[in-house]
C-alpha cells in the first residue's frame, strides 16, 4: 500500500555532506525540502508516531523537533504524501497545543475549515470519486427492491450529505412499472458539525427536491424534524447539541410523523460514526449508536441501509489512531491525485474536509473527538446485536454499482464481503454498504 505513495526515485537520500553548514542559511529549508520530499509513507508514518509519542510524554523538545522535520516534508500542494503530512501535522499541532502546551502554545493553532458550498457544488463534490455515490447507489437499489409494490414509502434520512442521495431514487421510483409511490423523506434538523458544509438550509434543499420530484411526477413530502425541547445552545458544543437533538427526536417517534401503512426505510449514510460508542447497555446512553439502533428498531422499519467508511479510527490510543488514519486516508488523497491537478480547487476543498477529519481524530479527545469510525465488520456485528439481519443486495443493484465503479478510474473496484459491498481503491477497502431488516420484521 505505501508503495504506491513512494516517490519515483526510491530510497533517494543522497550522500551525507560532511559540511551542510556550508550552504547558506537561506537555502537550508530548500535543501531540506528537496531531501525530505522524497521520503516515503513509512518514514512519514514513523515521524508522525514519534511526534505523537512525544506529545503523550509531554516532551516539548522532541515535539518541536519532529514537527520541524515534518514541516519540511509537508505541503498542501505537494504529492499525496506531502499533503497528508501537512494535515497530520496540523492535527498534531492542535493536539500539542492542548496536551503539551509547552511545546506549542494554543494560540498557534488554526483550524481548517473549507468554505460552504452551493448545492450544485455539493453535487460535484460527491461525484468527484465513487466514494459517496457507491453507497447511494447500493442503498437506493436495496430500497427499490424492498418497496416494490408498496404505495407509500417513508424514508428517514440520517446523512451528512444533504439529500444528494435522493434524486436518483426519485428518478428510479418514477420509472417503476406500477408507478411511483407517495414518497416522504424526513430528516432531523440535527446534523453533526462536520463537513461538507452547505450554504443553504435543509429546507431549501427540500424545496429543490420537491421541485425535482414534481418534474418526474413523483409526489414528495419533505419534512425536517426539529428537536422537541429547545436546546440550551451556547453551553454545549455543537456536537453535544447534535446528539441531544437527535436523541430527543428519536425518543419521541411522533415527531417523526410516521403513518400507518407506509413502508418505513431508515437510511444511515456516514452517520453512525458520529454517535458515541456508549457504555453499558444500549439504553444507558441514549445518544450512543447502540441506543440509536435500538430506537430505530422500535420504529419497525422494513429496511435499514447503512453506509460508512471502512476503517477503525476510534482506538483509544493516539498512536494507533495515527497509524490507522494514515493507512486509510491515503486512499482519497491518492485517488484525487490520479486525475486532478495539484491546485484544483475541488481537490483542495475535498482534502481540506479530510484534513478536518484528521484534525478531529488526532487533535482531540473525549467528547470533542466526534469522529469515531468503526469498520464495516464491527458495524455488522453491532447491527446483529441490535436485532437485525442482513438483507442482500439483488443482482441488478450489484450490477449498477459495478457499472458505477467501472466508469471511474480503473483502480476503483468492488468486492463482496458476505452481504456487504465494499468499494476498494487499489484493492484496499474504502467504503462499505449494507442493508438490514429487523429480525422478525412484521409487515
Amino acid at each position: 500500500m505505501r508503495a504506491e505513495l513512494r516517490s519515483s526515485t526510491p530510497g533517494h537520500i543522497s550522500v551525507p555532506d560532511p559540511n551542510p553548514f556550508d550552504t547558506p542559511h537561506g537555502s537550508l529549508s530548500g535543501a531540506l525540502k528537496g531531501c525530505l520530499g522524497s521520503l516515503d509513507g513509512a518514514c512519514i508514518e514513523k515521524l508522525l508516531l514519534h511526534c505523537a509519542t512525544a506529545v503523550e510524554a509531554n516532551d516539548a523538545t522532541l515535539v518541536q523537533q519532529v514537527m520541524w522535520v515534518l514541516n519540511n516534508i509537508a505541503s498542501a500542494h505537494g504529492d499525496p504524501n506531502q499533503r497528508l503530512t501537512s494535515w497530520f501535522l496540523r492535527a498534531l499541532v492542535t493536539r500539542a497545543s492542548q496536551f503539551c502546551p509547552t511545546a506549542v502554545p494554543s494560540a498557534t493553532t488554526v483550524l481548517a475549515r473549507a468554505r460552504p458550498m452551493t448545492a450544485t457544488e455539493l453535487v460535484g463534490y460527491v461525484d468527484l470519486t465513487p466514494w459517496h455515490r457507491f453507497g447511494f447507489t447500493a442503498s437506493n437499489g436495496a430500497i427499490l427492491k424492498m418497496v416494490q409494490g408498496r404505495r407509500k414509502v417513508h424514508v428517514l434520512d440520517f446523512s451528512i450529505y444533504y439529500c444528494t442521495q435522493w434524486p436518483t431514487l426519485i428518478d428510479a421510483l418514477s420509472e417503476r412499472p406500477e408507478g411511483p409511490p407517495l414518497l416522504r423523506i424526513t430528516m432531523p434538523s440535527a446534523r453533526p458539525p462536520v463537513p461538507p458544509y452547505l450554504n443553504v438550509s435543509t429546507e431549501e434543499i427540500g424545496l429543490k427536491l420537491a421541485n425535482f420530484a414534481k418534474s418526474r411526477d413523483v409526489a414528495l413530502e419533505f419534512h425536517v424534524v426539529k428537536a422537541t425541547s429547545a436546546c440550551s445552545g451556547d453551553a454545549l458544543s455543537g456536537h453535544s447539541n447534535f446528539l441531544q437533538e437527535l436523541a430527543s427526536c428519536l425518543l419521541d417517534p411522533s415527531s417523526l410523523g410516521l403513518r400507518e401503512g407506509e413502508a418505513l426505510v431508515v437510511n444511515c449514510q456516514s452517520w453512525l460514526r458520529y454517535l458515541p460508542e456508549g457504555s453499558g447497555t444500549a439504553m444507558d446512553d441514549l445518544s450512543s449508536r447502540d441506543a440509536f439502533m435500538e430506537l430505530i428498531h422500535r420504529l419497525n422499519p422494513c429496511l435499514v441501509t447503512v453506509t460508512d467508511e471502512d476503517a477503525d479510527l476510534d482506538s483509544a490510543r493516539l498512536s494507533s489512531r495515527i497509524m490507522s488514519c494514515f493507512n486509510y486516508l491515503w486512499i482519497p488523497f491518492d485517488a484525487l491525485e490520479t486525475f486532478l491537478p495539484k491546485d484544483n480547487p475541488q481537490r483542495l476543498a475535498y482534502e481540506t474536509d479530510i484534513g478536518q477529519k484528521i484534525e478531529n481524530i488526532i487533535g482531540f479527545e473525549g467528547e470533542e473527538r466526534t469522529e469515531r469510525l468503526e469498520s464495516g465488520a464491527r458495524f455488522s456485528q453491532r447491527m446483529t446485536r441490535a436485532g437485525f439481519e442482513s438483507f442482500p443486495f439483488d443482482e441488478e443493484t450489484v450490477g449498477e454499482v459495478k457499472l458505477l465503479v467501472d466508469e471511474h478510474a480503473s483502480a476503483w473496484g468492488m468486492k463482496r464481503e458476505e452481504d456487504t459491498l465494499v468499494l476498494t481503491w487499489k484493492g484496499h477497502n474504502s467504503v462499505f454498504t449494507a442493508a438490514w431488516v429487523p429480525s422478525g420484521y412484521d409487515e
Binding site: 530510497g11 488554526v110 460527491v126 424545496l207 429543490k208 409526489a219 445552545g233 410523523g257
Partner: protein, 527 residues
C-alpha cells in the same frame, strides 16, 4: 563525436581537459550547457550506485525534451537513435561495429555516459547529478517534467494513467446528458442529481405557468400547485421566526381541494439557520489572506481555542476569525504566564506568506530559497543538524534561514493589528530584554485556494518570550529528554541501515518509549 540524424544530441565532454568541446546537430533544440568543471571526487567514490552521483570521468550527455519524450522505447546506447521495435534496434546496432584500429586510435574505452535533464530547474540538470542510464533519464523526464497528464480531447478531463484516459475516451461524448445550465455529464446519475439541485430546474418550473406546454401533460390541479409552491417559497424565505418551535410540519401554502396527487411541501415555520449553512456574511467576506483582524469578534474570548471547536457559530465564524492576530490578541488578554517557551518556529516563508499558501511554482521553489542546490543530507544528518543548529545559532539568524526575520515580521504585525498587537508587543518587550526576539510561529497553515478563508498564515507574529532557544535545546531541559528523545528518533527513523545513508524501510529499532505497533511489511503495489 558522431553526427546523428534523428535525435538532437549534444555532447559535452568534461574529461577534465578544461575546454568544452561542443558539437551539435542541426536539429539541436537546446543551448549548449557550459562546460562543467570536474566534480569533486572524494565523496562520490563510495556511492557510485546512487543516482545522481556520476563518475567524474563520464561523458555528460544532454538530450532534448523531444528526444526524451519520444516513445521509441528501444534506444541505441551508442548513438541514441530510437526505435519502436527491438529488432530494428538490433539491426541498427550491428552498424556500430567500429574497426579495431579505430578503437585503438581513441586510446581509451568508450566512456560511460551520463545524462542530464534538460529542465533547468531540475536537480538533475546539474551534471553532478546526472543520471547514469538513458532509460532512467527518459523515465525521469516524462514523469517529472513531461506532460504526464493524459487529457481527454472532448472534455479536457485529465488523467495520469493512460488506461484510465483510454477508458474515459471511450465513454466521453458517447452518452452526454446536458443540464439546462449548460453542464455536461457522462453519467446519468450525476446528471440526475445535479439537475435536482440546479437552479435551472427551479427556473424551469417557474416558467411552467398555467397553460405552458410540458412533455407530460399535467392536470390543472398540479399547475396551481406549482404556483402555490412558488408562493410558498417566497413566503417561506421572507419569514423569519426567532424561536424554533415544536416539530413544525406546516403546509406552507393552501392546496387546491381536488388533489389528484397529494403533492405537498411541508415546511417549518421559519428557515433553519444552522451556522454551517449560512455563516454570517460579514465573516466570509471580510477576509483577505494572511493576517487581517477579523471583524467577527465572537471568538475573541478567553477560550478561543475551545470556542473554535465548540459552538457551531464559531465554527462558521472560524472561517474568518482564525487569524493569527486574533489568536495573539487572545493570548495577550488571557493573562497567560509569559514564561512559556517559544512556540514552534517552523519553516515558513518570509512575510505573511506561508508554506501552505498558494505557490505558483512547485514545492521545490520557495520564494526565499534558491533552486535546490545539492542536498546531500540524510535524514539522520538532518535531525542532527537540527539539534546542533538549535543550540548553536542565535534565534534570529537561525530563523533567517527560513527567510524569517524577527524585526520585519513584527513590523507587519503592527501595521495589521494596531492596538491589539501593540498591547501584546509591549508585554513581550518586557520579558526579553537581552535576547534576540524569537518568533512564535504558527505553522503558516493558510489554506491556499480560498482567499477569503481566514487562516493564520503568518508565523511571524508575537514573539514569545524566549527563555529557550528555538528547538529548546542546549538551554536547559524543557520537558525531559532533550537529546535522548532526538537520538531515539534518529535511530528509529534511520532504520536498519544499509544502502546509502538515508532512510530505509527497514523495520527500525523501536524508539524509546514508543511501542512499535504491528506494522504491515511493505508490500508491493496492489492494483
Amino acid at each position: 563525436m558522431m553526427e546523428l540524424d534523428n535525435s538532437s544530441v549534444m555532447t559535452v565532454s568534461n574529461s577534465g581537459s578544461g575546454e568544452g568541446s561542443v558539437s551539435s546537430s542541426s536539429q539541436l533544440q537546446l543551448p549548449a550547457p557550459p562546460p562543467q568543471p570536474p566534480p569533486p571526487n572524494p565523496v562520490v567514490k563510495k556511492k557510485r550506485n546512487l543516482p545522481g552521483t556520476p563518475d567524474p570521468e563520464a561523458e555528460v550527455i544532454a538530450l532534448s525534451p523531444k528526444t526524451l519524450m519520444a516513445t521509441n522505447r528501444f534506444v541505441c546506447e551508442i548513438c541514441n537513435k530510437g526505435f519502436q521495435r527491438d529488432q530494428n534496434l538490433q539491426l541498427h546496432r550491428r552498424g556500430h561495429n567500429l574497426p579495431w584500429k579505430l578503437r585503438q586510435r581513441t586510446g581509451k574505452e568508450p566512456r560511460k555516459r551520463v545524462y542530464v535533464c534538460p529542465e533547468p530547474s531540475c536537480v538533475h540538470h546539474d551534471p553532478l547529478r546526472a543520471l547514469g542510464d538513458l532509460t532512467g533519464i527518459k523515465k525521469h523526464f516524462c514523469r517529472k517534467h513531461g506532460e504526464k497528464k493524459w487529457k481527454c480531447d472532448k472534455c479536457s478531463k485529465k488523467y495520469a494513467v493512460q488506461s484510465d484516459w483510454k477508458a474515459h475516451s471511450k465513454v466521453c461524448g458517447t452518452r452526454e446528458y446536458r443540464c439546462d445550465c449548460g453542464t455536461l455529464f457522462s453519467r446519468r446519475d450525476s446528471f440526475i442529481t445535479h439537475r435536482a439541485f440546479c437552479d435551472a430546474l427551479a427556473e424551469e418550473s417557474a416558467k411552467k405557468g398555467p397553460g405552458a406546454p410540458t412533455s407530460d401533460p399535467k392536470p390543472p390541479a398540479e399547475e396551481e400547485k406549482a404556483t402555490a409552491t412558488e408562493e410558498a417559497t417566497a413566503a417561506e424565505e421572507a419569514t423569519e421566526a426567532a424561536v424554533e418551535t415544536a416539530p413544525a410540519a406546516v403546509a406552507a401554502a393552501p392546496l387546491p381541494p381536488q388533489q389528484v396527487d397529494p403533492l405537498e411541501l411541508q415546511e417549518p415555520a421559519e428557515p433553519t439557520k444552522l451556522p454551517q449553512y449560512m455563516p454570517p456574511p460579514s465573516a466570509s467576506l471580510a477576509n483577505t489572506s494572511g493576517v487581517t483582524c477579523s471583524s467577527s469578534s465572537s471568538s475573541s474570548n478567553t477560550s478561543l481555542f475551545a470556542s473554535l471547536f465548540a459552538s457551531t457559530t464559531s465554527t462558521a465564524a472560524a472561517h474568518s476569525t482564525a487569524s493569527f492576530s486574533d489568536l495573539m490578541s487572545v493570548m495577550g488578554h488571557a493573562d497567560r504566564p509569559l514564561t512559556e517557551p517559544p512556540s514552534l518556529c517552523l519553516a515558513t516563508n518570509g512575510g505573511p506568506a506561508s508554506l501552505f499558501s498558494p505557490q505558483a511554482q512547485s514545492h521545490d521553489r520557495r520564494p526565499f530559497a534558491p533552486p535546490p542546490p545539492s542536498p546531500h543530507m540524510s535524514a539522520t544528518a538532518l535531525l542532527q543538524k537540527a539539534a546542533q543548529m538549535g543550540a548553536a545559532a542565535t534565534g534570529s539568524s537561525f530563523l533567517k534561514g527560513f527567510g524569517l526575520d524577527a524585526s520585519s515580521g513584527q513590523q507587519e504585525n503592527i501595521q495589521d493589528d494596531g492596538l491589539q498587537w501593540g498591547h501584546h508587543r509591549g508585554q513581550q518587550r518586557q520579558l526579553e530584554p537581552e535576547q534576540a526576539p524569537m518568533l512564535s510561529a504558527g505553522l503558516g497553515l493558510g489554506l491556499p485556494y480560498e482567499p477569503d478563508l481566514m487562516m493564520g498564515s503568518s508565523s511571524l507574529f508575537g514573539s514569545k518570550p524566549a527563555t529557550l532557544d528555538f528547538l529548546g535545546l542546549g538551554m536547559g531541559p524543557v520537558g525531559g529528554t532533550a537529546n535522548g528523545g532526538l537520538s531515539a528518533l534518529m535511530t528509529s527513523v534511520s532504520g536498519g541501515g544499509g544502502g546509502g545513508g538515508g532512510l530505509n524501510l527497514g523495520s527500525g529499532t523501536a524508539a524509546a518509549g514508543w511501542e512499535a505497533t504491528e506494522r504491515k511489511p511493505s508490500s508491493p503495489a496492489i492494483r
